[in-house]
């Protein structure tokens, strides 16, 4: 069973961002199942977490619903991240969610990045803003990033959007079912890992003294 979490930062209801998020979630589930593996898709809508996200910036800890959303992402086998384009980049709400994640949560995790906007002139936001963000977070972003403009959903849509969605989904499914970790380096140690397997004091003392004098 592969667990896929879709993070959607759309603000209106219904939003085209959520629409694209659902297309990607469904296509990915189909693609994973086509490879003989069960898939489960869960959606995290950031709109309802907006207050808790702002609070987390100030207090340093998540409220209950936000903590549950973070936990979903932490345990996910893959993440689909979808944002509207605001002022030539991802939205502040979208970025805040990834800002409050502990470093290392996305290490080696397969990710699809996707965005929506009124016009296709914004499409390179995916390559110039989202891809570097997820590179920094040590996620493994699939080659196909999916952009949807208003036209893609309307009468002028030519079916190309579904093709891009399916291609990205197929790439994610391939990573998910490769049977091996996609990251060369082991994931960074999270606080939870340290609680579960504490580093012995002897080792802590040894580590403290390693390295050249710092005085």
């Amino acid at each position: 069973m592969k667990h896929i979490v879709v993070v959607s930062a759309g603000l209106s209801n219904p939003s085209s961002t959520r629409l694209l998020a659902d297309m990607l979630g469904e296509a990915t589930a189909r693609a994973v199942e086509a490879r003989g593996t069960e898939a489960e898709v869960e959606v995290v809508e950031l709109r309802g977490l907006a207050h808790q996200l702002a609070d987390n910036l100030l207090t340093g800890f998540p409220g209950n619903e936000l903590a549950a959303a973070i936990e979903k992402v932490r345990r996910a086998d893959a993440v689909i991240a979808v944002t509207p384009v605001f002022s030539a980049s991802y939205s502040g709400l979208f970025k805040t969610f990834f800002d409050v994640l502990e470093q290392g949560v996305l290490d080696g995790k397969p990710v699809i990045v996707a965005a929506t906007a009124g016009t296709a002139r914004h499409s390179l936001v995916l390559e110039h803003a989202l891809r570097p963000l997820f590179a920094y977070l040590h996620a493994v972003v699939v080659p196909t990033a999916v952009f949807a403009a208003t036209d893609d959903f309307g009468a002028a849509g030519d079916g190309q959007l579904q093709k891009r969605v399916d291609r990205a989904a197929a790439e994610l499914a391939a990573l998910l079912t490769a049977g091996t970790t996609v990251a060369a380096a082991p994931a960074r140690r999270l606080v939870e890992d340290e609680f579960e397997h504490p580093t012995s004091f002897e080792e802590l003392l040894k580590r403290a003294s390693e390295g050249p004098p710092a005085y």
Binding site: F61, A208, Y215
Partner: protein, 397 residues
């Protein structure tokens, strides 16, 4: 003494949001002394002060403050919340707190912390990325300076020591008790457990789940290192309350301080924060009930400190809060004592540590003369090169 109750302060100088008035440093420093004396008057066991080296705090030079308070009090234990083990030279900590221990006849212990101010590290020539390593190595040295008369030391973070004796030696040959404080660094719980020292969770501003997780790990590792059972580990908690006889009055009065407070102000609502963290704003009975509930997730513990003087609350209000604390104190003591499992150790004191060490012994280290000549270097050094130094030595300048 079963469990200790007290207060801890961070020494913030904050504008009172209801009047717009900000106390001067002088007012806040004097108020801190008033608060500590009041704490003794209402029968509290512990007063602890934080350590900060920047505005808006008046919490630098903690041993000066504590010694001054110690001279004006009889019984209250003086402690820290916290002592910056990362950026303070362990040699100075060893000297300052051993001196304080002598002056106040053992009424002192301290809590090690890494601080929450990033910029403090470079002010003292340190690197924040080495925070945990500094805490580990510096305390290893401090521990030796208090337990060994003569120390040879080589480490990464301070210049080596050769045949060094930290003076004064601890009172009665017993070092002040040490707590280690950390919100969410398992390494610090491990460190406290390794030494069999106490572990303190600040238990304010953060969800109780952090506290529970840290205390559980500390207890497990305390037992792992053979200091006793998990129930015998020494645990302290912080806490934060604001009380009025009528709970709605407490909420109405505290809300502007909450909404504008440093650290968490302008964020979650008072109600959300009360639900998410151990903050209790309400009637004395509500504070009693909430406080008793702490042991549901940390077990029986030894020390409970409350933060009562931050966020711009005026001195008068703080003293009123302490009067109310004094009123619920007998109930808190009684109820905690009733719930306490048998075999749980009391909070450590100088007397209990001396008893555990087999009695008091004077630990003075007397300086030895030169083995060959019986003289000191002052007799043998010739200061011809500097006539002024020679004149000083001769007593003519």
């Amino acid at each position: 003494m079963g469990m200790q109750f007290g207060i801890f302060t961070v020494g913030d100088v904050t504008t009172d949001p209801t009047t717009g008035r900000t106390p001067t440093e002088h007012e806040r420093i004097k108020a801190t002394v008033e608060i500590a004396k009041k704490a003794e008057e209402i029968g509290l066991d512990v007063f602890a002060t934080g350590e900060h080296h920047n505005p808006p705090f008046i919490a630098s030079a903690p041993t000066t403050t504590l010694a001054y308070i110690g001279a004006q009090t009889e019984n209250i234990m003086l402690s820290t919340s916290t002592t910056l083990i990362t950026t303070t030279d362990p040699v100075l900590i060893a000297e300052n707190y051993a001196k304080l221990q002598h002056l106040v006849d053992g009424r002192v212990d301290l809590m090690m912390g890494r601080g929450n101010t990033g910029p403090v590290y470079p002010w003292f020539g340190k690197d924040i990325r080495q925070g945990i390593n500094l805490a580990i190595e510096n305390y290893a040295l401090l521990h030796r300076l208090w337990t060994e008369d003569v120390v040879d030391w080589q480490g990464r973070f301070r210049t080596p020591l050769q045949g060094f004796t930290s003076t004064p030696r601890p009172l009665d040959g017993v070092a002040p008790f040490v707590w280690h404080g950390s919100i969410r660094s398992p390494e610090i719980a491990e460190q406290a457990a390794y030494y069999g020292d106490g572990f303190f969770h600040n238990h304010i501003f953060w969800p109780a789940s952090h506290t529970e997780q840290m205390v559980r790990l500390y207890r497990q590792r305390f037992a792992h290192y053979g200091h006793g059972t998990e129930d015998q580990a020494i645990v302290g908690l912080g806490g934060q309350f604001f009380m009025r006889k009528n709970s709605q009055d407490a909420i109405d009065e505290f809300r502007p301080y909450f909404d504008n407070a440093p650290v968490y102000g302008h964020g979650p609502s008072l109600e959300d924060f009360m639900a998410a963290t151990p903050l209790t704003v309400g009637s004395p009975q509500q504070v009693i009930e909430r406080t008793l509930s702490f042991r549901d997730y940390v077990g029986d513990y030894q020390r409970q400190l409350f933060l009562v003087d931050h966020a711009g609350l005026p001195l008068k209000t703080v003293l009123e809060q302490l009067d109310l604390y004094g009123e619920i104190l007998p109930t808190l003591r009684e109820e905690f004592a009733k719930l306490r499992k048998p075999g749980v150790p009391d909070a450590p004191t100088h007397a209990s540590l001396v008893a555990a060490a087999g009695g008091a012994k004077d630990a003075t280290v007397y300086a030895a003369g030169d083995d060959a000549t019986g003289t000191t270097d002052r007799d043998s050094v010739v200061h011809e090169a500097d006539p002024e130094v020679q004149q000083v030595l001769d007593g003519t300048l």
